[in-house]
């Protein structure tokens, strides 16, 4: 009962109703989700399908490669930015203090605040995948593999959300984690070009991102219909990264809440 009511409040009231109250923003959101798919579709056409397919060394097209990348990259970049932005907004509006005055544990508050980011990015993901389908992508989906990779990916995203949210609680303005995940992942995250073409030092950074492994697994699961056995490497690394992110996220969140309660900066922005 309590969980459902809180989810309703955070997702429908705080998330959806506030989001749709900014109508222009809603329209711009949809535009910003769709444009990259067309962009990389035409880039793929420009350089020729065979050359692009050689680069990604797979049996699916570059458009398919980029579409899956763009569709699921949103969780990594904007979900993290969404929570950090959400906390920042609550600080500015003054509602964070009232949320913290409620009998919610810090982890619960962060969890509920995260959910809307997942919802909005799921809308984005479905939109992008549907556009990809319209552009001729043939999805060959292995449901079990897709589910397992997505599950591990989501756990890692929750960890990153916690890290990002904790940082913004302390520093208020200017969140390096959100900036990194929203900008750098386009280059490092295996999103629109494969990691294999990166120089070694950038490749090493890319391997530290759960996004890199999740996208690799998701492409296998959704574009080739591969089973779990063909993506063991992705799953193991994804699990390790998820655990690291989650542990770091929980520790940082508890530290951040203790810090702002001690400093008396809950109501400040």
């Amino acid at each position: 009962m309590g969980l459902a009511a809180k989810l309703y409040s955070f997702v429908v009231i705080r998330g959806f109703k506030v989001w749709v109250s900014y109508k222009t923003q809603v329209a711009l959101n949809f535009i910003s989700w769709t444009i990259p798919v067309f962009l990389y579709y035409f880039i793929g056409l420009t350089f020729g399908a065979s050359k692009m397919s050689m680069a990604i060394a797979s049996n699916y097209s570059y458009t398919a490669f980029a579409t899956v990348g763009i569709a699921f990259q949103g969780y990594f970049s904007s979900a993290v930015a969404t929570l950090a932005g959400r906390i920042r907004n609550e600080e500015l509006i003054g509602t964070l203090e009232y949320q913290m005055a409620a009998p919610l544990k810090p982890m619960s508050l962060m969890f509920y605040s995260t959910v809307w980011g997942f919802v909005i990015n799921s809308i984005s993901t479905v939109t992008v995948l549907a556009i990809g389908y319209g552009l001729g992508i043939k999805y060959i989906i292995n449901p079990l593999s897709t589910f397992v990779v997505l599950l591990l990916y989501m756990v890692s995203i929750i960890g990153l959300n916690l890290i990002s949210g904790a940082v913004v609680l302390i520093v208020k303005q200017g969140n390096p984690v959100a900036l990194f995940t929203s900008v750098a992942t386009n280059i490092l995250g295996n999103v629109v070009f494969p990691v294999s073409i990166l120089p070694t030092w950038l490749k090493d950074m890319s391997y530290a991102l759960s996004l890199t492994w999740a996208l690799d697994g998701l492409r296998k699961a959704m574009l080739s219909g591969d089973g779990l056995s063909s993506m063991v490497n992705d799953l193991v690394v994804l699990t390790i990264l998820s655990v690291i992110y989650i542990i770091l996220g929980i520790w940082l969140t508890n530290y951040a809440f203790k810090k702002i309660l001690e400093q008396g900066t809950v109501h400040m922005y």
């Binding site: 309703y8 409040s9 509006i93 009998p103 544990k105």
Partner: protein, 316 residues
Amino acid sequence: MPHYNYQLEKDLYTQPDIEFMPAVEFANVTKRFNKIVAVENINLTVNDGEVIALVGPNGAGKTTLLRMAAGVLLPDSGKVLIYGIDAHRAEAKRHVGFMTPMDRGVYWRISALDNLVFFGTLYGLSVKEARRRGLELLREFGLAERANDWVATYSTGMMRRLELARAMMHDPDILLLDEPTSGIDVDGKRIILDHIRRLKGRKTIIMASHDPQEIELADRVIYLNRNIVNTLPTLKIVKVLVKGTLPPLDGFRITDLGDGSYVIYASIDRFNDLIKKLASMDGGLRVIDLNVEVAFAERNARIEERMNRRGGGPWV
């Protein structure tokens, strides 16, 4: 016919593990913000059902005390307890409703009712319960007709009423109100004060206040200036610094400070009378500070003498 539970009554009085805890307890509480001491070594017990007015100049630490009791600020030393539980713990927060003096703290781009439902569910209400309770409170605070309007379209006074309604959503035992009627019009103020009056005896209320009409509602007035100077009933002379239009006040010594503010002197036995008189004056009159002198008879005589000689208090 309902039958009376004698066993329950007996248990209440005989069981050793049933204790009647103070509602709020500050024990040796100190809080600093960097080098600034906000409150120092505060000891204050607030009993169940008591209404307390915290008075004192700006920066005296009134809001700091309320924030600590609301569990959104930790003391550097000492303890803040709600029914014997640390105030920052979730179990303590369930008992507390909290309202600060700002036009922030509600979502402007959703309706008042949605705001109340949102905050109600944070305290464990179901959506249905929160909606019912929200509508009930909006009716009580004269906002029912605007329940589904965006809060952005509300006036300051309406917003203050909504904020109090929000604090009341989970029917808390303790209300922490920071200047609950500041900056609002006469009608809005009356609605809030009437509501607080109705809650007297049923809820424990701690109000930080500069307003004579709010102070009048208190069972106890605590003068605070970083540490508690004293509870007023034990003091002899009270000096009240007010700003605004002051009609003649017979029987009180008044010093005009010349900038629209006045110092009014009252012996403690006439303090309530003074507050009642100030409270009856609608309009822009505000209590800026409330200063007290310690109640030693011989010192009182010296103070009286000095006041007679100088014709003023520490503000002149």
